[in-house]
Symmetry: C2
Subunit: 196 residues, 2 copies
């Protein structure tokens, strides 16, 4: 009956990660605490440490899931669209909708800062690049003559502008744009960025 330990271990690993995701969703980054995760997953504190080196590793794992969810949503949203501007709009709205539907998961991506010299894991970096690649692809279609450096810069600018609109709309301290005007403003922004 070999493999029982492995199966148990994998289930525990999965349950702990699920609990962490749920806590991030419910209470934001600060709610992802070792004791809370352990309790929610149905294990003890020590077990969490058998699967994740520390709290940062766990949060990074949660953020990796969030990034891949966004990537998947973007893939689905652009499927079948051919016009570059329509595709860019679909990407922007997907990003906005995801952020609004999953405020805490989305904030977790940007609120989590590693202390000191620790590096962002390569996997995470790749996911970020993947999101930018969605945008870069469309901009290349719109501006075929642009060289690679300019394209990379322009891609980040466009992402940054859309990201800014999403950020500000989620901050209550800036009395937010109303529910209805937000998509209108997003379309305006993408149109202008695309030169239309």
């Amino acid at each position: 009956m070999a493999g029982v330990q492995k199966a148990k271990s994998e289930e525990t690993h999965r349950r702990i990660l699920e609990a962490a995701v749920a806590l991030m969703e419910e209470g934001g980054l600060n709610a992802v605490q070792i004791r809370a995760v352990a309790a929610k997953a149905g294990y003890s504190v020590g077990s969490v440490y058998k699967h994740y080196a520390d709290i940062d590793a766990l949060i990074i794992a949660v953020n990796a899931i969030t990034l891949s969810q966004i990537r998947d949503a973007m893939t689905a949203a652009t499927e079948g669209l051919t016009d570059p501007v329509a595709r860019l709009k679909a990407l922007a709205h997907t990003y906005l909708d995801f952020a609004r539907a999953n405020v805490n998961l989305w904030r977790g991506l940007f609120d989590h800062h590693l202390a000191g010299a620790r590096e962002i894991p390569e996997e995470h970096r790749q996911e970020n690049i993947a999101l930018l690649a969605f945008i870069g692809q469309e901009i290349k279609t719109l501006e075929p003559a642009m060289d690679d450096a300019a394209l990379a810069a322009r891609t980040r600018t466009c992402f940054a502008a859309v990201h800014g609109l999403v950020t500000i709309s989620l901050e209550d301290r800036f009395i937010g744009l109303s529910e209805d005007t937000l998509p209108v403003e997003m379309d305006f922004l993408v149109d202008r960025l695309a030169g239309r």
Copy 2:
């Protein structure tokens, strides 16, 4: 010799605030701690509480100074300029330059979240509105036919887009735009937002 106590008290108040600003500048939001502020200002922990109700009140005071610094820089930067787009570019570059020159003070504005139900002080809110008013004024010149609600929405969108570019450029996790391309991208963004 009346007024000695008042003068001492005012000086202490000022020194504590100065120490808090210096700490925020040097080490970011998390460096603004009661003990650190007290030590830097040359007083004891208890004295800080004689002048500020709690750590949040002190941080809010620091942020108020930062906001007014930005506002003053914007006023100076637009002086003498008449073209609305030139003025918008000057505002955007002032914002970018301030953030790059005072990363920690600038981050403090957005990283500080009040726990629970506490409200953002009215003074703070007014300063935010003041910054938006700078932009709104120029957009009104560019789009005189726009009604107030649309103008308010558009103003926030433009601020948000510029804010996003500044935010992303300060994040090292997105390999930043190089020193040189950043102003170019900022000009591009403002031109496009202005419809040029």
